[in-house]
């Protein structure tokens, strides 16, 4: 079996300032030149071009047919408006000491609903939903959402609907103790919120919402998430509150609507 001799230095003189070569990539092994000389795989096959063009056309048609007057809400797979009362009660438990869940108004609710519903990256999950009916216009106006009826803390929860709160505690979560750790760290109220990493994946509030939505988490559920590690790997640990209680997920930082994957969960938190 022939093996390529270790090749000479790359064909480009770094002194000539070729943008493809960087002095810091000086490569005594010659492997860089070998790899760059392997050749081009050729153009995208025509059948794949046609296939992707057809997919793009379908996406464009769906986008063109979208009625901008309707705000599609992922959560409407269940008759959801009356659930806000239950959500508010569940959220009240989370609201203790978590500043970001307090002191928000109807505008934040609208922003949250609009963001989670208009994000077309979540279409992958919504494609399997029943057709969404538009709610009565009045129900979208501020002030009509249910207020907490059973909350013991008095915290206002209207602003918490669908909200994703990011914290960065640096906790090393483990598979053995995920639910307990999430309860102790994220539900204790000791963590301060952060603005997130600013990416378009799970490190960012919007990206995390897309990720969770793609995994079937309703968009109206409040989430508190921690930029941390899980079994030694960078991850996002998210506690989701619903009318049935709290559950915890661990997702990779690259999780998003198209690449939705859980490292662990959903696990119930007791």
């Amino acid at each position: 079996m022939s093996t390529p001799p270790v090749p000479p230095r790359g064909p480009h003189d770094p002194e000539q300032g070729d943008p493809g070569i960087r002095p810091e990539l000086d490569d005594p092994t010659g492997i860089r030149a070998l790899l760059s000389g392997l050749g081009d795989p050729g153009p995208m096959p025509p059948d794949l071009v046609d296939r992707i063009n057809a997919s793009i056309a379908a996406e464009q048609a769906a986008r063109a047919n979208h009625d901008d007057r309707v705000v599609p809400l992922h959560g409407r797979r269940t008759p959801g408006w009356q659930k806000y009362g239950l959500v508010a009660a569940a959220v009240a438990g989370l609201a203790i000491g978590v500043p970001a869940l307090l002191g928000t108004g109807p505008q934040d609710v609208m922003a949250s609903l609009s963001r989670s519903s208009n994000d077309s990256a979540g279409a992958a999950s919504s494609a399997q939903e029943a057709p969404l009916a538009s709610p009565p216009a009045a129900s979208l106006t501020p002030g009509t959402l249910a207020t907490p009826s059973t909350a013991g803390t008095g915290a206002r929860a209207t602003g918490a609907v669908g909200r994703v709160t990011m914290v960065a505690t640096g906790t090393g979560y483990t598979s053995a103790g995920l639910a307990t750790q999430a309860r102790d760290v994220l539900l204790s109220g000791s963590a301060s919120s952060t603005t997130g990493a600013g990416g378009d994946d799970a490190r960012d509030a919007d990206g995390l919402r897309d990720c969770l939505t793609a995994m079937g988490v309703p968009a109206w559920t409040p989430v508190v998430a921690d930029l941390a590690t899980y079994d030694g790997t960078r991850a996002v640990v998210a506690v989701v509150s619903s009318d049935t209680g709290q559950t915890v997920y661990a997702v990779p930082t690259w999780c998003d609507a198209t690449h939705a994957r859980a490292l662990a969960g959903p696990l119930p938190i007791h």
């Binding site: 093996t3 790899l35 992707i52």
Partner: protein, 182 residues
Amino acid sequence: MTSRPLQERDDRELLRLHVEGDPDAFGELFRRHRDRMWAVALRTTGHRELAADCVQDAFISAFRRAGSYRGDAAVTTWLHRIVVNACLDRLRRDRPTTPLPEREPADGRDQHASAETRLDVREALDRLPEGQRLALVLVDMHGLSVAEAAIVLEVAEGTVKSRCSRGREALAAMLRERSGQP
């Protein structure tokens, strides 16, 4: 004011037009970058069918998420990242249960003895840890700068450099071992 044809618009303009509702802007982006992204997917996965699915996923994802592009990196860097993530997701989630066919030749048009060489190199590349392999695919095979590769892989530039360095050393050692060289 006459509007310039899409072919004359730069990538950022096309993406902006797409977000604003232009029905043809994304198609132009696809036409412009499809071959390169196909190559990235193929070199990342080494499996033709998998690469096809990945690159399709990636372009649809880019179509849907164009509004999230923040403009701090080049559009091609953003596309590279989406493609690489699509490939990694598939590789981790859908590990083939049947053996993969012989690796795709890097250049199907070159039928000479160097095909054997390419196979050696590709097999050795496959044996590298994922991080090192991806760094070499992006930097050495696709010519991305270290800074661009760092954005695509979501790691620090120093990490890309060290992965490239260690990956090249490991590849060189494997190739020497195959040839019986000391």
